[in-house]
């Protein structure tokens, strides 16, 4: 028996090209805007003298970690190691890219997660899309990103946003739906508007779970900006790529170590932001 071939690949392809052709102008404007944001972010980070930056980020770690001097010390030392490997500019580029991507993913993902918790229908639509987004090999996102935005930081950022958004949506929905029924009843019984209920009861009670989503989102963003170097995203990932292309273990390892340091610092800082 012959199974007829489904033209899934060609349908997706023509859809992507159709979007690219039809909305080309909008996509270009979008690309310019986000390119600008990432550049400004990076310029700001680069404008700070590296040693001052080390002091600032150690101080942030001290405050966020509630006077945890070990966290502050480790954070400061980590960035000194990056500085001594002469990877400062690449690291700032990576941080700028990660934070702008994660921020955009959270700005879209958290409200979507809240809506998903409020509307079962919406969540039923979202769930298969989220499954697809999380299981599709991350390299695959790079292709339409290139078609829409060309090469560079912006397609890297967009692919990163798509890749890192699902946990933010899922954990926000989970957190809000797990708010105890009695607490929701309290909000209603005292006459709260839906908005008051959300702001004063649901989000604060769900904050721990939502922050776990934020942490996941940032971690995934970091892993994706490295992969996005394949389509021209700059930063440490690009150094790793150079290491691969030249089979230069030294360059590759140093850049990899830089990524690990940034990952650990971002992870610890966001974990400490979670209310106990």
């Amino acid at each position: 028996m012959i199974v007829p071939q489904l033209p899934i690949g060609s349908v997706v392809e023509s859809a992507v090209y159709w979007i690219s052709d039809t909305f080309g102008f909008a996509l270009d404007a979008f690309s310019a805007l986000f390119g600008f944001i990432i550049d400004i972010f990076k310029d700001v980070l680069m404008a700070v003298p590296p040693l001052l930056f080390v002091v600032i980020i150690a101080a942030i770690a001290y405050v966020v970690g509630r006077k945890d001097w070990k966290l502050a010390l480790g954070t400061g030392l980590g960035f000194i190691v990056i500085l001594s490997m002469d990877l400062w500019e690449y690291s700032m580029e990576t941080i700028a890219l990660v934070i702008s991507s994660a921020a955009l993913a959270l700005i879209i993902g958290i409200p979507l997660g809240i809506l998903g918790a409020k509307s079962e229908t919406l969540y039923r639509i979202l769930r298969p899309i989220l499954d697809l987004m999380q299981t599709m090999p991350s390299f695959v996102y790079l292709i339409p990103a290139v078609i829409f935005f060309g090469l560079g930081n912006v397609p890297g950022m967009i692919a990163t946003v798509v890749f890192s958004m699902p946990p933010a949506i899922r954990l926000t929905t989970l957190g809000i739906t797990q708010v105890p029924k009695e607490l929701v009843e309290v909000a209603d019984a005292f006459g709260s508007t839906p908005w008051q209920k959300l702001i004063k009861v649901e989000i604060p009670v769900a904050l721990k779970t939502i922050m776990a989503g934020v942490n996941q989102c940032i971690m995934l963003a970091l892993s994706m900006v490295v992969i996005a170097s394949m389509i021209g995203a700059r930063g440490l990932g690009y150094q790793v790529l150079i290491g691969i292309q030249r089979v230069d273990i030294g360059v590759g390892f140093e850049a990899g170590l830089g990524i690990v340091i940034i990952a650990i610092v971002l992870d610890r800082l966001t974990q400490h932001l979670t209310p106990k």
């Binding site: 009695e182 309290v186 005292f190 709260s192």
Partner: protein
């Protein structure tokens, strides 16, 4: 005055309540409706009134619909049909905006598991209802402090809920409900999660508060002792219907059906029944003025050996024994010279268990007087025994139930 009037309230759980509702109107039973439509009838034509300033207890086993009924009153659960009038307003017809206002100002609620917001301090928990109404921070903290003091938690304003014991947490829940100064308090198994000693303490305090504040309280409980202690009136629920409404005494001494009598069978009646329930008419009595002659005649006629003596206003003066009366008559004395002024006497609201201990100390009947010292009844040995006997019979029935 009626504060809440509920009439023909029906709640159907399920996606297609209309068909089931029409069957309810036709008078089909809940089982028939479930078999025909697959819809569950949560409340079935429930009607009752709650008077202003009373504690009305909805009592029943779990699944009897008491919590559903309570939540219909402020429409946390939307009733399928029927009327709920609070004051002069039909709450079931209130718009969502109006409903929010009613919940803000008129009705507040206390929850079984306290339901405090874990991220807020005690004072901000108590002030929640006021915050919703956009009171300024000073104003709501001021009102919240008053409520916190009322429930005896002064000094804990800035603790977090997790730092307080269960009993204290429920005081916070109560303070939160009181802070908005509502007319009606809905209390959903408010003390069920507390251990017995704390529970009884909280019940006493609620009664004390209620004496001062005179709120209308609808209290849901599965605990019969709690219901009897708190309730001015009690509605006993079974399977979404009210089996009986009445005061504790009415339900205990006059159960409407088998279910109610089985439900109340285990109750220690000596705590609930009072002198008023067991006393007999004080017949006959003799007036001070009538004299010894009349007193002796009355005793002879009724075949008794002693008689109570009252004054013109029927106030109880003393107790006259036949021997003393005969001796006094021979000696030419008056009633006043020989009446016994030391005799057991108590008021109508004395519980049966206290009557028993009074009886244990004396052989004489116990005189029951009202607040003006007027003789209204008498408790003899036989009346206490009769009351106890019915209690024991009920207990035996219950044992049989269990062994079956």
């Amino acid at each position: 005055m009626k504060k809440i009037v509920v009439s023909n309230l029906t709640k159907i759980f399920g996606k297609h309540p209309k068909k089931a509702l029409s069957y309810v109107e036709e008078g089909l039973s809940k089982d028939e409706i479930f078999n025909k439509t697959g819809q569950t009838v949560g409340l079935y034509n429930v009607s009752f009134d709650v008077y202003e300033g009373e504690i009305f207890v909805l009592m029943g086993l779990s699944g009897s619909g008491k919590s559903t009924l309570l939540r219909c009153l402020n429409r946390l659960i939307e009733p399928t049909s029927g009327l709920i009038t609070i004051g002069d307003e039909d709450v079931t017809k209130a718009s969502s905006e109006r409903l929010r206002l009613i919940r803000e100002k008129q009705i507040s609620m206390v929850f079984q598991n306290f339901a405090l917001l874990p991220h807020r301090t005690i004072i901000d928990n108590v002030a929640y209802g006021l915050e919703i109404q956009d009171f300024s921070k000073e104003e709501r903290h001021e009102k919240a402090s008053v409520a916190i003091e009322t429930v005896g938690l002064k000094g804990h304003e800035f603790s977090k809920p997790s730092q307080l014991s269960g009993g204290m947490q429920q005081r916070v829940g109560l303070a939160r409900a009181l802070a908005t100064d509502p007319e009606i308090l809905l209390m959903d198994e408010a003390f069920s999660a507390l251990d017995p000693l704390i529970r009884s303490e909280m019940q006493d305090e609620l009664l004390e508060l209620e004496e001062k504040m005179q709120k209308t309280i609808v209290f849901v409980s599965h605990d019969l002792d709690e219901a009897l202690k708190l309730g001015d009136r009690i509605a006993l629920m079974k399977d979404g219907e009210i089996a009986q409404i009445g005061t504790a005494e009415e339900i205990l001494s006059n159960p409407a059906n088998d279910y109610v009598s089985r439900f109340v069978a285990g109750v220690d009646k000596t705590k609930i029944l009072t002198a008023e329930n067991v006393m007999k008419r004080p017949d006959p009595v003799v007036s001070l003025k009538s004299g010894l002659q009349v007193a002796l005649k009355l005793m002879e006629k009724h075949g008794i050996s002693s008689i109570y003596v009252v004054d013109k206003a029927k106030r109880l003066q003393g107790f006259l024994k036949v021997d003393d009366a005969v001796r006094a008559q021979k000696a030419g004395k008056t009633i006043e010279d020989v009446i016994i002024k030391e005799f057991p006497k108590t008021t109508m609201d004395t519980p049966l268990q206290d009557l028993i201990s009074i009886r244990a100390e004396t052989d004489q009947p116990i005189a029951i007087v009202n607040e003006n010292d007027k003789l209204v009844g008498v408790v003899v040995r036989g009346s206490i025994l009769a009351a106890l006997k019915t209690t024991e019979e009920d207990d035996e029935e219950q044992v049989e139930e269990v062994t079956q």
